[in-house]
Subunit: 343 residues, 2 copies
DNA sequence: TTGTAGGCGTTATCAG
DNA sequence: CTGATAACGCCTACAA
């Protein structure tokens, strides 16, 4: 292993000078600098990060707490974080939290104490994880997509409530009045907000809420649970003519379940999803859904974190990226053929 | 920050003793050990990793070089690696290589020099990246899924050639004799081996190879490129009655393209994929494909790497996990209705 | 502008 | 079995 001392000797200067050149701190004569750089290159010297970190008390590492990253939503966010962090000179340590319940206080406490990282980004948490606040107050922490409701923790997300409201309003505008929702049994703020948005739209349209139109899929948005939830909705006495889902996979499950029941989307049933992941346009009917800028969310979270690490004065603490409703094939005008056109 | 010295004082012992207790090295009286552990708990002390790493010259970090992890294949592998590494006491640093060409020598060289990690796992590389061998000889490195052909680098994968041969043989057994392949334009060994396996099966069946039945999709297996490749195949003068694809996404693209051409799978065309990712059973026709144990591949690669880091004598260097062909709906008996039943 | 030297928090060697 | 102390490689006052 070649160390700074070797470089110093090779360049005929002191270690301090080498360090100054490498860290670009303090004046160094152009001539000496050149000699140092030449030596660095010739010996292909790379500073020992452990030593540097010990000395500077930083790690240049960002910790990402992510639940199952086989979900394309999270993998896109991840890609955004990784790209930005690399440009900023940070490495990304990834920690699998499986689901939001695995993100418990003892885990964060130990991660925090170990201070292996300069900051942390959480991709999922329950909306009532208030204990996170105490960490955010003494440690750079930003929440991406999911965040703790009403807490003073920097976060970046989309306006889930408005997006859901707009989507459901769109269904209303297509003539649907009996509209169901498939949400998730988790405690994510996004799930709650999307349910709220759904109710907002109903109220706006003067439609009475009906709890029998609210179905819950599994906490991890599994395709199978989406199918299951759809069955309870569609096999009821007075089934909906449209269903809004809090995730695309769930929507796909609903479409599959409908098919099994002999219902064709969108003719017999309208379906809308959320996220706009890749496979929304791999099969017909192409999914009407809400496009969430996952990659940008990832980028933004890292940028925010960086500002907080640097303690930049004007650092943002609450950012909402614009969403977009994309109209495709799975939601259509309610017709006589549509089921449950009794009202 | 509470340091080892604080613990020592609190427990009334020397730092050496605290260290011994924590690292379980050397004898310590049960009584003193208890006092130390109590102090550690009370002060909620966590050793400073930078200092420890500097001293022990290790990082307890594994570097993962992964291409676009929004591909469910890679994310499952990743999950396997992360789970095992955590159990082994390692953190996983993830480095995005975008595509295999971004994994160039200068990158690995610098990563290697920085020695931020104790070992490295590559998820993708070109089959002719022989230069990797020189790193593998002096640094713990294992290749997962993709590896350099004929190089002395520990790797774990599946037998791609045999899997492809078996799948194509299955198509043959269904009565197909004009069988196309959609492979990828990348330089992955898996693509090459699957093409070889395809040719093996043809030869075994006494079918003359026909280069016009070989179509190339983009390097990253994109859905769109699968559709495009399918068009060149299906719009030819003498189109195939069955198509074998080197990835599920590609197969989905082929099915979509077929649909656009008025061809129904499997009645007018049989299609087989590779990987068995989640959405193979989200839509009809359910995909006939090769199930690759991604998660297990990830687990296995980390286990292998661990053995190599520890320089365990009998460490494995070449492992192939069993695959399984899963028969579903997209491939069926060739009938008169099937296109190109001229032969 | 450059060099010297102390210390970051641990572990490991050596005495006791 | 335990304690004192010298590294590990780097950065940064402080001096020159």
């Amino acid at each position: 292993m070649v160390k700074i001392e070797d470089v110093a000797r090779a360049a005929g200067v002191s270690v301090a000078t080498v360090s100054r050149v490498l860290n670009e701190t303090g004046r160094v004569l152009p001539d000496t600098e050149a000699r140092v750089r030449e030596a660095v290159a010739r010996l292909s010297y790379e500073p020992n990060l452990s030593a540097r970190n010990l000395r500077k008390n930083e790690s240049r590492i960002i910790l990402i707490l992510a639940p199952n990253f086989s979900n394309p939503y999270y993998s896109n966010v991840l890609a955004g974080i990784c790209d930005v962090s690399r440009n900023l000179g940070y490495s990304t340590l990834i920690y699998n939290t499986y689901d939001s319940d695995a993100l418990d206080e003892s885990l964060v406490e130990s991660l925090f104490q170990k201070n292996r990282a300069d900051g942390m980004i959480t991709l999922a948490c329950n909306r009532d994880d208030r204990w996170l606040e105490s960490y955010a107050s003494r440690y750079p922490l930003v929440q991406c997509s999911e965040y703790v409701e009403g807490a003073q923790i920097p976060h970046i997300s989309v306006d889930n409530r408005a997006a859901a409201r707009d989507t459901v309003s769109h269904l209303v505008s297509l003539g649907h009045r009996r509209i169901g929702i498939v949400t998730s049994a988790n405690r994510y703020l996004s799930s709650a907000d999307r349910l709220r948005g759904y109710r907002d739209a109903l109220e706006e349209a003067g439609i009475d809420p009906d709890d029998s139109l609210v179905a819950y899929a599994s906490a991890d948005y599994s395709f199978a649970s989406g199918k299951q939830a759809a069955r309870t909705l569609l096999e009821a006495a007075d089934p909906p003519s449209a269903v809004f889902c809090v995730s695309d996979i769930l929507a796909l499950g609903v479409i599959a379940a409908a098919g099994k029941l002999g219902l064709q989307v969108p003719w017999d049933l309208s379906v809308a999803g959320f996220d706009d992941v890749d496979y929304t346009t791999m099969f017909h009917p192409y999914l009407t859904t809400v496009a969430v800028p996952c990659y940008e969310l990832g980028r933004g979270s890292m940028l925010m974190l960086y500002d907080h690490i640097q303690q930049k004065p004007g650092a943002q603490s609450e950012v909402y990226l614009p969403h977009k409703i994309v109209l495709r094939e799975s939601a259509a005008q309610k017709t006589d053929r549509t089921r449950s056109n009794t009202d």
